[in-house]
Amino acid sequence: MKRLLAIELQKIWKNRASKVLTIGYFVILSFIALIASIKFDIGIFKFHLAEMGIFNFPYIWHFNTYIASFLKIFLAVIIVSMMANEYSYGTLKQNLIDGMSKKELILSKFLTIVLFAGISTLFVFVMSLFLGYGFSSYTEIGIVFSDLEYLLAYFVKLLGFFSFCLFLGVLIKRSAFALGSLFIWFIFEKISYGILKFNIYNKNPKVDDVYAFMPLESMSNLLIEPFTRLNSVKNLQEAVGENSLKDYDVHLSSILIVLIWIAIFVYSSYIIIKKRDL
């Protein structure tokens, strides 16, 4: 396993574009901390994000993982191109000839994805811990380490998204086209959902139940947007008479669905490599 990771990391780390993107990703990730410094003073109206409670434990776990998950596209580009490059350089063929098995090849890519997702999760965990201790109104251990399932959801979400990218890279062979199809699939899920939900089935909640099984929708269901959960926003909503009873929890069922997608994507990647004449 160490050997496979070492092989894959050398391929990524020696590539300047991937290296810059990886470093850029972590730098931008740490910029989440800068949200703390967002401050507006307009006369008597004072707006200081950090003091609105976004960095309160345990809410911070939800907020930071949600914001951090937007940046996953950076690593997605690296993952798609690491696969597509193997095709265009002819090194996929060469690696096999040099004695890598097809299973090892996919496993080495998958381990890299796990590593990326793992490091991202660890990074967000440590950063949130620091931010929380800096700004949170509550710092009791019991509260600090509650609701950690958001981190697990974040990890699974990244893993699912990256597996999807890997699969597209294996299938399509060209990074630009693979990323393009990812985007088209995203649009397809959204539009077909909109049409089914609002035009055909007249807001029937069953549509949501079905779409919870779609790959991208299931990943986004792992982390629901945290903004309307903020006390200040809630108060505002109640004031205008909208009662939100949104469920912000991480559900085991959503995690399971994404795990199944991960298995499908990784296994199909292997089947494609196995069946294809390279």
Partner: protein, 303 residues
């Protein structure tokens, strides 16, 4: 068989309607230099692709080292380069070879040793993308040699190289062959195979046309060039020779093919008895190139 390195039995590969490899069988034993000869698109690379685990066979069998190892483990004891050199353009020569070391499980100290053999030690820190084609091909050979392979498989190793590059690559191949490494060389260049190989497999449209030793293929069709002061009389006499297959009157010289092996001295005596003194008598072996054209043309006219 103890020394069997690769054994291919009744291999077939179909791409849709195209029968790229049709019933190819081949046995490779330790210490010989084998050639696979055929025009472009005759199934050479496909056959190699199948045994190298990158192309899926349609039917048939192959086994490495007597079938004791899984293909990918067997390939760790094989060195192969196919079609064009495949490396990561953004890595240096050294880094590329170190990556191959990681895959094959070889010590890094082999890197410098093999770069020395192919004469790239001075450029080891240059990025692969800055290399000329000849250098890329030599790096590919260095990479294939990293694990001190039991067999070296080369597919069109001199394809696209300039004469100097061809010369360098051939020298390296000869050096490796002289050290007793088994080599399998696929090429459409006949003199390349003739110069380097001891055994040859001739392919056309995926089918085997000839499978055996190079000398036997060549000596089988020896012919004579004859000339005397009176060629007319010579032809008359030649027609009476019991073993004559056919002859051509090629301006000054007469080319005579015989059904069986005929000795030069014997032939000279035969003419002398008839009162013809020859001023030119040469026994020529058909070059592999002519041989190859005869083989491939005869099937063309058949089909």
């Amino acid at each position: 068989m103890e020394n069997s390195i690769l054994s291919i039995k009744n291999l077939h590969k179909k791409y849709g309607k195209v029968h790229a490899v049709n019933d190819v069988s081949l046995d490779i034993y330790k210490g010989n230099v084998y050639g696979i000869l055929g025009p472009n698109g005759s199934g050479k690379s496909t056959t190699l692709g199948i045994v190298l685990n990158v192309v899926n066979k349609t039917s048939g069998e192959y086994s490495w080292f007597g079938g004791k190892l899984e293909t990918h483990d067997a390939l760790k004891k094989v060195g192969a380069i196919i079609e064009r050199p495949n490396f990561y353009p953004y890595m240096s020569a050294k880094e590329n070879l170190e990556l191959v070391c990681k895959i094959k499980g070889v010590d890094y100290k082999k890197v410098d040793e093999k770069l020395e053999i192919v004469g790239l030690i001075d450029r080891k820190n240059s990025k692969f993308k800055t290399f000329s084609l000849g250098m890329k091909q030599r790096l590919a050979i260095a990479s294939a040699l990293l694990n001190d392979p039991e067999i070296l498989i080369l597919d069109e190793p001199t394809n696209g190289l300039d004469p100097q590059g061809i010369h360098q690559v051939r020298d390296i191949i000869r050096l490796i062959a002289s050290q007793g490494t088994t080599i399998l060389l696929a090429s459409h260049l006949l003199d390349e195979v003739e110069k380097v190989c001891s055994h040859v497999l001739v392919l056309r449209f995926g089918k085997i046309l000839y499978n055996g030793k190079v000398d036997e293929m060549v000596s089988h069709n020896a012919y004579f060039e004859l000339q005397s002061n009176n060629n007319q009389k010579l032809i008359e006499a030649l027609k009476n020779h019991p073993e004559l297959d056919n002859y051509e009157n090629n301006e000054e010289k007469i080319i005579a093919h015989f059904k069986t092996q005929v000795d030069s001295a014997e032939l000279n005596g035969f003419f002398f008895e008839k009162g013809i003194s020859l001023n030119h008598l040469v026994k020529r072996k058909q070059s592999l190139e002519e041989q190859f054209l005869t083989l491939t043309n005869s099937t063309e006219t058949q089909s």
